[in-house]
Amino acid sequence: MSEQTRRGRAVRWGVPIATVALVAGAIGAGPVIAAVQGDPVLPERTAAQLLADAVRATESGVKPMSGTVMQTASLGLPGLPEVAGMGGTSPAALLAGSHELKVWYGGEDRFRFALPGRMSETDLIVNGDQAWLWESETNKATRIKGAGQAGQDHDRAMPMATTPQQVADEALKRADAGTAVSVSNTEKVAGRPAYQLVLTPRDGSSLVKEVKLALDGETFVPLRVQVYAKSAAEPAFEIGFTSVTFTPPAPDNFTFTPPAGAKVEEKTLADLGSRPEGGQERAEALKGGLTTVGEGWTTVAVLPFSTQDLKGPAQRQGDRPGGQDAAVVTDALLKSARQVSGAWGSGKVIQTKLVSALLTDDGRLLVGAVTPEKLTEAAGRR
């Protein structure tokens, strides 16, 4: 082989190497471009000004918009099994991994949420007093009556899959004397410059390190909420827009006619919220026995409870969608529980990144976003 061919061959192999470098560069280009462009700088605002602006923007009505919301949870649930056939729409599935939600918002009583799964989709379409829940997996359309006037109740009925707005409201309510609040004006969310409100609990026994809330720099719509746990650098829970446009969505997004061949059911909101077989009474009883210890970030809720209570409803729900998953999750959680005891008695502790729970042997359940030590302390305080 001559010197020349050898050199020619080396040059030739430079081409695939350059291509690999190019592809790697393209993958890594996003952060680099963002770094070169620099952080967006918005006019400075204090936390109070920012919140006032946000409230004003909310009062005047959120602008019509559409976008994609990504929800990521890594709550550190111990040994959560892969539930067979667990689609993207199962409530238990939302507790781990990333989920995409499409949002079309045309106004207070005109919106559509779509939760896409592999070859399936779950849609919630609200248009005035018309509300439909469409599940393609089971080919079922549910007409929800009385959704128009009871929007508030509705928000509470779906605490997981909601828009960042609703999650943000919840986070804002908690800000009080026990919280250090700071604002930065150099965030960028879904390609838009944004303010970021950082809420840091002052109490050391809280498992929450900080809550970050990003508000759009122009419309003050909450674009992202991140909850950081003390034990991890990545957010334990995050919900935020990955893309958003503030233009009114096409009207056909808000119309829904059940397709031919689909099962059509009618339900009222009360039906959806209540559990069968006396679940209502059980919920009432639980509410009656609920007490709280402490305040702010380290509030601990104390409930009368026993393991049988936990298993009972979960098993009975087996035939309902998601019921099976709930039972599996419950089992997994109970298996991971750690036995603890002290002057207050003994019980089982379940710890995740954000929440700890203590099931005492004398039939109490203590839950809070605090360290297990704080829970046992609360258990001693009858």
């Binding site: 190019l22 592809v23 892969e82 067979a84 070859m119 469409w134 089971t138 056909d252 997004n253 059940p258």
Partner: protein, 300 residues
């Protein structure tokens, strides 16, 4: 294989053309003629015809099975798309493609693309093809284009046979989308066309991988087996939850990402990303194949 016609066209392409423009047109025409003869040979080969026939048979089998035994009950938790087939025949296309794209289509593509260079080398016909000067890049281009045409033929065979079987065995009519909306039949057929093109792009990316392997060996079986083995290994890696970080970079992850066409409005985001991944694979493995093939000593 294509030795005789190949040499003929190459000599026409390089020989007669005084003007640069005319020469370019002539070269293109010669290239297309070479491709035409290559595609003709590929599609006339009994082995390839048999593979296409098997691919076209699977949707018919699925359709007959669903017709005979009925769709899965929703309590089974099986993929809902099978249930939808019984309601609308056009869904058979989506069901069939999402199954075949996992293994059978990749195997067929790997056989043709993996054989393309290694097969000629193994039979000793490659050196005749390469007798013409400066022909290697062009020859590789023809081999790859031929593999892509076969990808399209294979995907189209599946789509057409399942369309036909679906319409004959089940009621056909306006399609219910995953979002619950309904689109007219013709619109549905157009969307199937989009899916066919997307799946073809995915298979073309695999063909680039197989072609790269094909330039590295003289045993066609080696190139085919390593491509198929790679597909299986990557698919296993793709379902391990602990490795989910790597999923977006795996070729197989994107192959059945075409369910966006069944949403309203059509969700193109995932397909767009998929196409970018396919393009990246084609660029990387295409350039590897080129570097290997143009620098190779061909003695047999």
């Amino acid at each position: 294989m294509s030795t005789v016609s190949g040499q003929e066209t190459v000599s026409i392409g390089t020989g007669a053309a005084p003007l640069p423009r005319a020469r370019a047109v002539g070269a293109l025409r010669a290239w297309l003629r070479l491709l035409g003869s290559e595609v003709g040979l590929t599609l006339r080969r009994p082995r390839n015809i048999a593979m296409l026939a098997v691919l076209a048979l699977v949707p018919v089998l699925i359709g007959v099975a669903l017709r005979t035994f009925g769709g899965p009950d929703e309590t089974d938790g099986g993929p809902s798309v099978f249930g939808q087939v019984t309601g609308n025949g056009l869904f058979l296309t989506f069901a069939a493609l999402s199954i075949l794209v996992q293994l059978l289509l990749p195997v067929a593509v790997a056989v043709v693309a993996g054989d393309s260079v290694a097969g000629e080398a193994g039979l000793g016909t490659l050196r005749y093809l390469l007798a013409a000067p400066a022909g290697r890049t062009r020859l590789l281009g023809v081999k790859y284009a031929n593999a892509v045409v076969f990808c399209l033929a294979a995907v189209a065979a599946v789509a057409l046979s399942s369309l036909l079987a679906g319409v004959l065995l089940f009621p056909a009519g306006p399609i219910t989308l995953l979002s619950g909306g309904t689109i007219p039949l013709l619109d549905g057929v157009l969307r199937i066309g989009v899916v066919v093109l997307y799946v073809t792009a995915g298979m073309a990316a695999l063909a680039a991988v197989a072609l790269a392997f094909s330039t590295m060996t003289e045993a066609a079986v080696g190139a085919i087996a390593s491509t198929v083995g790679l597909v299986v290994v990557v698919q296993v890696l793709g379902v391990i939850p602990q490795l989910s970080v790597f999923q977006p970079y795996l070729l197989t992850h994107w192959w059945n990402g075409f369910d966006g066409v069944l949403r309203d409005p059509m969700a193109t985001g995932e397909m767009g990303q998929g196409l970018l991944v396919f393009a990246a694979y084609i660029a990387v493995f295409g350039s590897i194949a080129w570097a290997r093939f143009t620098g190779k000593d061909i003695t047999c």
